[in-house]
């Protein structure tokens, strides 16, 4: 690598380089730069300045989001061109280059879609601006519940940055605490949004240690927090914190459907983004004998080559070898009596260029209640088990996405009524299907906004 990288905080008064910095490392463990770690005093002062800043008017926000999409895709930002940025993320954090590009495209789509997403999320009885003529007759106005939204980001895929721009569109000020493993996407996106017109005091980047990250979350009105089950457990009791934890996404195939036509969709659901997304399927339940499907799935996933993350054809994630060995050991522990069809010996595939690939794993379990079906790991790791109609909805609970390959309408009704299934996809749609404007975990607006009743007579809008 060339010049050492410096990830500064992007504060309300400009970039801030703290004296306390931690090293940024590549997959081989070599130091490639440093990231600032701001103290709590800086956090408090930043948040105070952000609260004092005026809200950017709605139309300007949407224009800025459009502009930011272009900048994010094409502009040199923070000294890095778009290709250099993609290369850095893959080399430094092990996210395959193709996955980074896909995520970048997704984030740009999300930014451009906010114009319609906000409309789609708003209750039909509401107007988005009190100046709307309907408030003269009496109407609901869609209003913010708070002012400041915090993002505690993850580094497993840049796609995690596709959720929070909705908060910006709604008029929230946003403070992003980037992942220490992959802060580059957060930095680039904040830079793009600022250059596009969001004033620094409305959007900040505050790299911190975990203690100070808690200060950010405590000080914000709402926060979104990415992490494992530990993080979900830590924050789930706080109603203003939206947790993005294990997705435990699943696929159900009933006997009235021939899975052979859909095996590529099933395999793609497991391996999409190198298996690192919470929408990736980690369990497949099959009515009838699950083994032929499991074997076909193992065959498909086994074909994926092991490549360095910056190889254009790479699909699988690369991590420091020691971390991959840890994941492998954990997999062996949780697999227990499950029958391995792929990756049972090891998922570690060390690369000469540094780090190791996390190879896919396919296991079979003999019951729809097997505990392994709830185990989600950060690589293509899937558990295949049996399901009978008598088992009902219970084995399908707690799924961020459930793809139900079925034609049974009564079952579909029951799945839709199950509160712990967050998204329900039917037929030949991978669990990883996403479209800007279609909610991923509800619209953020459902949490960040509320309606207020308004009737007006005397007040006239000066601009109207």
């Amino acid at each position: 690598m060339g010049e050492p990288i410096q990830i500064d905080a992007l504060g309300p008064a400009g970039p801030y380089r703290s004296r306390n910095r931690r090293p940024l490392t590549s997959l081989s463990g070599a130091q490639i730069g440093e990231i600032s770690q701001v103290p709590s005093l800086y956090v408090h002062r930043t948040i105070a300045a952000m609260r004092a800043a005026p809200v950017v008017p709605g139309a300007r926000r949407l224009d800025a989001l459009d502009t930011a999409a272009e900048l994010f895709l094409t502009a040199p930002l923070g000294g890095l061109g778009p290709d250099e940025y993609v290369r850095l993320v893959s080399t430094a954090s092990g996210v395959p280059r193709a996955v980074v590009r896909q995520s970048v495209g997704w984030i740009a789509d999300v930014l451009r879609a906010q114009r319609t997403t906000v409309e789609l999320a708003m209750p039909r009885g509401a107007v988005g601006d009190w100046r709307d003529g309907r408030t003269r007759e009496g109407a609901a106005v869609w209003a913010r519940r708070g002012d400041l939204f915090a993002v505690h980001a993850a580094g497993n895929t840049p796609a995690v940055h596709g959720l929070w721009p909705e908060a910006l569109a709604l008029g929230y000020k946003v403070v992003v605490r980037p992942s220490a493993r992959e802060p580059y996407t957060a930095f680039r996106l904040v830079e793009a949004l600022r250059q596009a017109g969001f004033p620094p005091a409305t959007l900040t980047l505050l790299p911190t240690d975990h203690d100070v990250a808690d200060v950010i979350i405590a000080e914000a009105d709402f926060a979104i927090v990415y992490g494992g089950q530990d993080v979900v457990d830590k924050y789930s009791a706080i109603p203003t914190v939206l947790t993005q934890g294990p997705g435990r996404s699943k696929i159900l195939v009933t006997a009235d459907v021939d899975w052979r036509d859909s095996i590529d969709i099933i395999a793609g659901s497991v391996s999409h983004l190198g298996g690192t997304a919470c929408t990736c399927a980690s369990a497949v339940l099959v009515e009838g004998d699950p083994e032929p499907l499991a074997r076909a799935l193992a065959e498909r996933l086994g074909r994926i080559p092991s490549l360095p993350a910056d190889h254009p054809d790479a699909i699988l994630t690369v991590q420091p070898t020691a971390s991959v060995v840890e994941v492998d050991q954990y997999l062996h522990k949780v697999a227990g009596d499950a029958r391995p069809l792929l990756g049972g010996d090891t998922i570690v595939d060390e690369l000469p260029s540094g780090g190791a690939v996390l190879r896919p794993a396919v296991h079979m379990v003999d019951s729809p209640r097997a505990a392994q079906l709830g185990v989600e790991l950060p690589f293509p790791c899937v558990w295949v088990g049996p399901w009978r109609p008598a088992d009902g909805v219970a084995p399908l609970r707690d799924s961020l996405v459930l793809t139900a390959m079925t034609t049974r309408t009564e079952l579909i009704d029951a799945l839709l009524d199950e509160p712990s299934i967050i998204n329900l996809y039917l037929g030949d749609n991978p669990t990883t299907w996403l479209r800007p404007g279609i909610p991923h975990d509800g619209y953020l607006g459902e949490v960040l906004m509320r309606t207020k009743g308004m009737i007006r007579t005397a007040v006239e809008s000066p601009a109207a």
Binding site: R19, N20, V38, P39, L41, Y42, H44, R45, A48, D214
Partner: protein, 363 residues
């Protein structure tokens, strides 16, 4: 019997020769006519002869760390028999710890306390008359009494608020940091009332409490208007926060730290200027208080500029507290010429100490 080399220095007096000082100190504390009952008793189980074997600062490493014994020793046993007259006047009994395990008690003598207070006097030289607000623990902690004496030196009064750091730590251990918030805000409310209604020229507090004050615009404005000196102690202040306080929050107001402990019955003072990296450097009053910074695994001194665990020594005729491994970690810094041990910079907590999790809170 008493050697004048152990007397606290008078103006213009040259510094004592280090080896001569250590030799006289050993004779004082381990002679039956001048030593304290504690040390005379403890000498029997030391396994070495302090008078014969401890002749230099380095030899002090022979001593075990005895401060844990100060948890239950009667304080009368800590008074050296050789102290008499003005030297024997006690300012108070102060406690260290109590947040991790039972507290340890130490006897503070008046003459020593006045000397310890003078150690950073030059920082206050041009301040003139001023009242003091101490937003810091009083009770069994020496912090409060130092603040009261500071006020007297400035012909002012000391305002104070109650603060119980041990209770805060219990709250944090039980309920997490959120629980301590309510207590801390209650303390700041009281400080705010004093700052609003009284003329406060010197503010003495801890870094976490100063940070809380900095969050309230009205208090920042009052402090900027009235306060002419801010003294912090009792917790860590990182270089980044220090710079923000100095440059943005309280520009132009001297912000000086004291790093000390009841186990040394005093403090080290912030050196004028700063080390590379924006760090405050702390000089102890050698030879009366001397620091070493050691590798926690080997106990050997680290090189200057390296990080390690702080070992403190109190070496006066008023008390002997050698070789005390503190919980803090710090950088070893170059001391002024002729001083025992080293100076320290970038003092901060370690993760665990003596099998109790250390929680850095309001104090």
């Amino acid at each position: 019997m008493s050697s004048t080399v152990l007397d606290l220095p008078r103006a213009g007096q040259p510094a004592p020769d280090p080896d001569e000082y250590i030799g006289a100190l050993m004779r004082w504390h381990f002679d039956a006519s001048t030593g304290s009952p504690f040390w005379l008793r403890r000498a029997r189980s030391l396994g070495f002869d302090p008078i014969a074997d401890v002749r230099t600062f380095a030899d002090l490493r022979l001593f075990p760390n005895v401060v844990d014994e100060f948890r239950d020793v009667p304080v009368e046993d800590l008074i050296p028999r050789g102290l008499a007259g003005e030297d024997r006047v006690i300012a108070g009994v102060y406690e260290s710890g109590g947040t991790t395990g039972a507290p340890k008690r130490f006897v503070m003598f008046d003459r020593w306390m006045e000397f310890a207070l003078s150690w950073d006097e030059f920082h206050y030289a041009d301040l003139g008359p001023a009242n003091v607000l101490a937003v810091a623990p009083s009770g069994p902690h020496m912090f409060g009494e130092f603040a009261a004496r500071r006020a007297r030196r400035h012909e002012g009064v000391r305002f104070t608020v109650d603060l119980d750091p041990r209770w805060i730590k219990r709250l944090i251990e039980r309920d997490g940091p959120g629980a301590a918030d309510l207590y801390a805000e209650h303390v700041i409310d009281q400080a705010a009332h004093v700052l609003t209604t009284q003329a406060v020229g010197i503010l003495i507090t801890t870094p976490p409490l100063l940070e809380r004050m900095a969050r309230r615009d009205d208090l920042v404005e009052l402090i900027r208007k009235n306060v002419r000196f801010i003294c912090w102690s009792g917790a860590h202040m990182d270089a980044d926060s220090r710079e923000i306080f100095q440059a943005e929050v309280f520009p132009g107001i001297p912000l000086k730290g004291l790093y000390g402990s009841t186990t040394i019955l005093g403090m080290s003072r912030e050196r004028p200027g700063e080390a590379a990296g924006g760090l405050a450097v702390f000089d102890p009053p050698s030879p009366y208080i001397a620091f070493r910074v050691v590798d926690p695994d080997t106990g050997d001194d680290v090189n200057l500029g390296e990080r390690g665990q702080v070992v403190m020594n109190h070496l006066t005729k008023y008390a002997l507290i050698p070789n005390n491994l503190e919980r803090d970690h710090a950088l070893a810094a170059e001391p002024p010429p002729g001083w025992l041990g080293c100076a320290v910079a970038d003092v901060g907590p370690v993760a665990t100490f003596d099998d109790h999790a250390v929680i850095e809170g309001v104090y």
